[in-house]
Subunit: 261 residues, 2 copies
């Protein structure tokens, strides 16, 4: 099960892939990076472009940028350039790349099922995690919304997180997940990579909570899948490389007080 799936069609389109994202934290860009890394497909990562990295993002979302004849403008990054195509919105980029990189079915309902699972994981482990440190205003500092953050984090760690983990365990226990540790169809898909990153980031943000949830034994399939992705040869190499960005002040932040009673 750990060998790349060679039966899926890869694109013959030879245009280079370029990811546009903020520098200095993994963020939502990481969900996209993991697809390229697992597939062993090279990509330009503008987050690694030094002084130019932030200005590339600012240009993307500038009020003057109205897209072009083919592409609507982007509200936010990550964004993907592939030939003359420009795409944004994380689940949308994954939906596009999945089949091209051999990480999703190329046709039929599987495409929608993998998208469904990825959207659900992103809701919890990316969007709701971000809300824990910015519950009342995205543009204010965390320090200016600490009591609210504490309340939101409590609701997240006690109610939402166990509810989402139980759901993902149900997905794995269900017949449609197929054989092996994977979420859908008995094969590694990008939904598995999204789960890995979501769990990994959430473990950084809420280490005590996640350890206790793992130790409960209720979600062994979910954490087993996390381990299985982490052990994939290309993912392992990537995580040990300088390309893997350290967590800092992005979506996944570690504020110990958010786990205190």
């Amino acid at each position: 099960m750990s060998e790349p799936d060679t039966k899926r069609v890869k694109t013959s389109d030879e245009a280079p892939y370029e990811l546009i994202y903020w520098p200095n934290f993994p963020g939502r860009g990481e969900f996209v990076r993991l697809l390229f890394e697992e597939a062993g497909v090279s990509y330009v990562d503008t987050a690694k472009a030094g002084d130019d990295a932030a200005s590339t993002v600012l240009h993307l979302t500038s009020p003057d940028n109205k897209g072009d004849a083919i592409n609507p403008p982007s509200f936010a990054c990550p964004a993907l350039k592939h030939g003359d195509l420009r795409l944004s919105q994380t689940p949308n980029i994954l939906l596009y790349l999945g089949p091209k990189l051999g990480l999703a079915p190329t046709e039929g309902r599987g495409m929608y099922h993998v998208n469904q699972i990825a959207l659900t994981i992103l809701d919890c482990f990316s969007n709701e995690v971000h809300e824990t440190h910015h519950p009342v205003s995205v543009s204010d500092y965390y320090e200016d919304q600490k009591p609210e953050a504490k309340r939101r984090a409590k609701a997240f760690t006690r109610e939402r997180l166990p509810k989402f983990l139980a759901h993902l365990q149900r997905v794995l226990d269900g017949e449609a997940s197929g054989d092996g540790p994977w979420l859908y169809g008995g094969k590694l898909t990008y939904a598995d990579l999204v789960l890995f990153q979501g769990i990994d980031g959430t473990q950084f943000a809420f280490p005590r909570t996640m350890k206790s949830l793992r130790d409960s034994g209720k979600y062994d399939g979910v954490f087993g899948l996390y381990d299985a992705v982490k052990g994939r040869p290309n993912i392992k190499k990537y995580l040990a490389s300088h390309r893997r960005c350290q967590y800092s002040d992005g979506i996944w932040r570690h504020y110990p007080e958010l786990e205190e009673d």
Copy 2:
């Protein structure tokens, strides 16, 4: 421009469509309903099934429900049944239905662009609006998080809402939107219907704010598109029918104090 587009391929699949959603408020189910209504395609709406409506939703998301051999389980509604296919996650259901109902390109990059625009609208006019009345805990009553809600609503109405409206105006001003009032490719797509519902619900929740934003004249394209969708023959009939649910305590709630300084 107000005639249905007959050039797009409709599905030959004759299986009936069934929408599973909560009764008594429009909610995210409304984004799905509008596609069927605009296309003039009949559908079963479990929200209208009287006493059975809530139990249908509870069965969908029950801990015992692990999906079946084809379909993974759903985390939440809305869900769609079509033949033996079961789908959930609002943008995913729209992605599936769009091309079948003549409301999105059936191939190529247009599918991703329409998905991108719809995801962005849902982020603001559905997800972030919901956060305004439940900023610290989804499972607590609004009454138990009023000061936090007031702060979140202020950030939403003063910063987020104008930022998203400006972005959507940029989409309309961009070349890729094509001719006419529509967001993409010079034709009505489901992204336009999503925008209509998002604006309509947000006007119910924040009437003073939305009136003042409309009157500013900065987003004339966006509100012009809202009016264009509202005037479509099938949409007009639907809005006047008993099938259109009144706003109440769903995503879009009117708490006058959330617009006060």
